[in-house]
Subunit: 244 residues, 2 copies
Amino acid sequence: MVNPEVSSRINQDIAERKIIFILCSCTIEYRGRSRSNIGLGHRLIIIKQDTTVLVHSVTGFKPVNWMNTPTETVAEFGEELVLYSQRTKKPFEEMKVNVKDILDYRSYTSLRDDEKLDLTHTEKDLQEYLAKNPALVHPEFRLIGTEHQSPLGYFDLYGKIGEKYVVVELKVERAGLPAALQIKRYKEWLQGYIGEARGILIAPGITPNALALLKKDGIEYKKMNVEHLKIRHRKEKTLREWLQ
Amino acid sequence: MVNPEVSSRINQDIAERKIIFILCSCTIEYRGRSRSNIGLGHRLIIIKQDTTVLVHSVTGFKPVNWMNTPTETVAEFGEELVLYSQRTKKPFEEMKVNVKDILDYRSYTSLRDDEKLDLTHTEKDLQEYLAKNPALVHPEFRLIGTEHQSPLGYFDLYGKIGEKYVVVELKVERAGLPAALQIKRYKEWLQGYIGEARGILIAPGITPNALALLKKDGIEYKKMNVEHLKIRHRKEKTLREWLQ
DNA sequence: CATTAAATATCGTCC
DNA sequence: GGACGATGTTTAATG
């Protein structure tokens, strides 16, 4: 059963922008970009400082339901405790959590996390690295630009080999059909726009279907793994540059 | 400071597949598909029954770091408490959480959630609905099949209007350039394969660029919003069918 | 503010 | 188990 004292405390805690953890059994209804229902089960509700609401089940990476910031959440205590959340900007979304039983309720005022995640070895890092080391793309590759805009999208790398223009598409994971179709489009557009052109797909791996499509269209595939490249964490890099 | 008693208890709780919540300040290192570091801040660590590990900060939808199932996590208590997680299948991934201070530690044995999320008004629902109501696509549309396979991907709906073959692409959100290029490719392939063909893009909205591209290629756009369709929750539907 | 594309994407489904 | 595409994707960058 839900303790009435707890339920009255929730709205206070929400108003004070406390971070709130509620371990409970509940049912959930959602309606917005799609609709969902789920029956009774044990879940952890987290209301974060930025109004994000997460409802996590006992397994899985994704919350079973959630509301993104900015959201307004209110607790109502009638027959049972109900948490009602509504998105305060478009698109309209709402979530109702019917709480049957609270196993644990906790709220905190002064939790702080001012650190930013320093993430590297992403596609952006690979792009920057190859822009600085164009010979890794091809011994004769001369860079013209990165994120070069075309009507069909952005070329990761753009340059020349001899007299031919070259578009390069990068993937840090195994390339599939979508990546192959992307570079195919780019190369076709480039050929229509500028004459003969080359396309190079760089990835640590490729699916058979994707490779077949590249072969058919004369697009080159080059195996490269971002993991092995000497990319420093940005913070280290900043620090080193600062110290010089 | 970290209580040594707590740290010795963690491995026991992990071994017993308890669900574990640790509210703490910590730093985190991750290395695997990419790499990341983050400095000291307050975070909630969740170790779920399926070995999923989530580390949530005080804001945001996404965990600041995480490990997907299947993962093996061990707690080591040296100078400080360290949680080390390693993925037990490919790709290799590892995460180290250096815990400085535990604000709350909780573990539970008997939390259960056997319910499945009943999600509707997705693209799949729209596809099924239009397969049953082909006249909504076009008054004379006759369905041949759904998820019809081509070398370039799957056609959401495939059929005929008069003597012409028709490929239909569905989006439940506003269609952009990628969606327009997708239906364009499909129509082009169909024309090369079978002769004259039509393409129809169905979506609740479309970006100007995408619409321009469709016009240029003679592809039709039909505005439709899955929200307004009479799609029942699957559970209701099953129940009704069961009762008949 | 809208558009665009990456993501440690995750997740389900189909082959 | 691999491949493929949707996702209530979320998030960040960019014009």
